[in-house]
């Protein structure tokens, strides 16, 4: 088996890992933009506190996990459930080299913004063509 195939298989295995908590896992809607010098990941994380978000970048895989904490208010009982709460999880393979120390994440109004700056080596350099 070639190395690439092996790698693919490993990745597949990783995705099948279940979580220990018995909570539904959702894929939150995510936008991804790329600039010359950075990648921006925007992820909907309603009801998630900043302390309940884990962002990791390991072996080119960016994974975002957020845990929603929703309690039924005191004395109330649920009568209609239009949406469920649980764990919000997304993982993306990042193909460009990222400057790990400069990753910046902000949570605002239930929306997570992660800025992944590319390393200087990965930023494209424009080469001027000189006319002789």
């Amino acid at each position: 088996m070639t190395e690439a195939k092996q790698d693919k298989l490993e990745r597949k295995k990783k995705q099948d890992i279940e979580l220990t908590q018995d909570q539904p896992v959702f894929s939150p809607a995510t936008d991804i933009y790329e600039k010359d010098d950075a990648i921006l990941v925007i992820c909907d994380m309603p009801g998630v506190s900043d302390s309940d978000i884990d962002i990791t970048l390991e072996n080119d895989v960016l994974s975002i996990i957020g845990r929603q904490h929703v309690d039924v208010p005191d004395g109330f009982k649920a009568v209609h459930q239009g949406y469920q709460s649980g764990i919000l999880r997304r993982a993306f393979t990042i193909t460009t080299a990222i400057d790990q120390d400069k990753i910046d994440a902000k949570l605002n109004n239930g929306v997570l913004h992660v800025v992944l700056p590319k390393t200087a080596a990965a930023t494209p350099k424009k080469i001027e063509v000189k006319t002789a």
Binding site: D31, I32, K35, D44
Partner: protein, 144 residues
């Protein structure tokens, strides 16, 4: 075979087909989170109180309009798209933007001046107390 008179009854066999199509469309609507009514609501109730929560990530409080009239509550708002620089390539666009509106009817009249709404971490919480006038009155029985 019995066949209704089309000229008199105005019956159209395609009407039946269109009705079937509507039914099937309705059946598959709400399948998955994208379709269905936006925003999705969770409703909690207590004796004379109803609490409604909705997930509205990225919606500013200023862009949210909540109104109550009688027993009908309406949530309206606009979710702005992200401002982005010019030389940006978009790889994935899953988050929706635009305006939404949803109305729902409660089983009682709402005390309009006591409705409370808060928006925290992208979750809207509405507190809708029952109007005094609509509360059932307990009638004392006089034993003679």
């Amino acid at each position: 075979m019995w066949w209704p008179d089309i000229r008199d009854e105005g019956w159209d066999p395609f009407d039946e087909m269109r009705r079937l199509q509507r039914e099937v469309n309705r059946l598959f609507n709400g399948y998955g989170p994208q379709t269905g009514e936006i925003p999705a609501l969770n409703v909690y109730s207590k004796e004379d109180d109803v609490m409604v929560t909705a997930e509205l990530p990225g919606v500013n409080a200023e862009k949210l309009d909540i109104s109550v009239q009688g027993n009908v509550c309406t949530i309206q708002g606009t979710k702005d798209a992200e401002d982005k620089a010019e030389d940006v390539v978009c790889h994935r666009l899953e988050r929706s933007s635009g305006s939404f509106s949803r109305s729902f009817r409660l089983p009682f009249e709402v005390q309009e001046d006591q409705v409370k709404a808060s928006l925290d971490k992208g979750i809207l919480t509405l507190h809708l107390p029952r109007a005094e006038a609509s509360k059932p009155k307990k009638i004392e029985i006089n034993a003679s």
